[in-house]
């Protein structure tokens, strides 16, 4: 079996192609993994209530 694998024309090429395509698939997966990373969460601020002071210290109930 081992002799047949290493000594049959074309089988070697299939081995090369299998290795090459596997590596290619792994690298495509790696690139996709980077591409599909989620964006940073958008900072959502709660709507201000009447009693809450403004960030600059103005407004709100005094």
């Amino acid at each position: 079996m081992g002799f047949w694998i290493v000594n049959t024309p074309g089988i070697g090429s299939l081995i090369v192609l299998t290795v090459g395509l596997s590596v290619f698939a792994a690298y495509v997966y790696m690139v996709r993994w980077i591409q599909t990373a989620p964006p940073d969460p958008v900072e959502i601020r709660a709507p201000q209530t009447a009693g809450e002071p403004e960030p600059n210290g103005t407004g709100g109930e005094s």
């Binding site: 089988i11 090369v16 690298y27 690139v31 990373a37």
Partner: protein, 450 residues
Amino acid sequence: MMDRTYQESELERTVLSPLRQTSPQFWLAMAVLGAVFLWGAVMLVRQWILGLGVTGLNRPVYWGIYLANFVFFIGISHAGTLISAILRVTQAEWRRPITRIAEAITFFALILGLLQIWIDMGRPERVFYPLIYGRFQSPFLWDFTCIGVYLLSSTLYLYLPMIPDLARMRDHMTDAPAWRRRLYTLLALGWHGSHEQHRRLEKAISIMAILIIPIAVSVHTVVSWIFGMTMQPMWHSTIMGPYFVVGAIFSGIAMLFIFMTIIRRAWHLEKWIGPKQYNYLGILLLVMSAFWAYFTLSEYLTTGYGSIIHEQEVLHAKLSEEYAPWFWAMLICNFVIPFAILVWRKGRTPTGTFIAALAIAVGMWIERFTIVAPSLTRPSLGFEKVLYAPTITEVAITAGSVAFFAILFLLFFKIFPAISVWEVEEGEAIEVVHRQAEALARQKAILTGS
């Protein structure tokens, strides 16, 4: 029109400037290189029409300078990826401005290396023969496997650190032609630069940097086995693998110096590619020169003392007969000139290292030639001594290949930035933090009186 609301940094402006405008010198260089390439291409077509008889190849010298070119190009492909990967893994901060140039050399050198095999086959359609008739007992197939994986890995290793820069160009180089904007958009992969995306990119680059080192070593080891697995005198040697790898790294660093210096000068990158890079890489080149000399001495001394008759004939051909001028020129180029220049701190300047690197590039090509040709002119099995002299066809195709390599390299850096902008900016930010930390430590020491 440029995006007016965006303020470019000095680095970005300088790096992107050659992408926006083209100097007359660039067109002149392209014209000269293009003419040489055309000469080589015409001679290649002529070789396809008339056959390999137009070369100096004959029986038993079935490999000549095309194979020397193949080994040379595959050797210089170690410039990039291996050097860049080692420096990345060891976190050498000075690597940041030069990694992209190194990685691009790898990519184009590999393509040119593979083209040499195609040229050596004599007919274009024979490129399919290894696929049809390939048997895995042949080291050629091992070579195809390793080079194929190395090419895929080097392409990704060149591409990954480019993504943030491509996104920057997609967003801000609105003055670029439409096809280039489309290209940047396509290659930027929708990069938005979130923390998670940055983390994944850094992780992928780290994985590739570690993976690529054994792959690169395997490539040149297997290239050497194409020679080492035969019974030819001075090829059938266990030292060939490491000897080839050392030679590859040596010629790779030299090629990095040559292209780094050209790009630095032509693209005005003196502020970022400076004395630090030349000094550290110069020391590395010196060390590799010493390694190469050590391996050469080991190989030739062992052969000399072995007194095996076929090997003695090849050795004499190199030391004192028709290949002696090549052999001694190789020693001068690879050892004497680099040592005379690089051993001094004052020699490790852009000019000094450029001269040393040019000598090494020539010397390493000669080394490949003196490995390939002399052994075949005096083979083990029953041939009379023959001569091999490259014809004008081989010289033209070799010159055309070198010109093609330079054209691809220059065109690449007319479209993409020669320095990894985001990585250099990251390095500058790290340096600022380090300086602040040192200042704080000094203040603390003063306050505590220690």
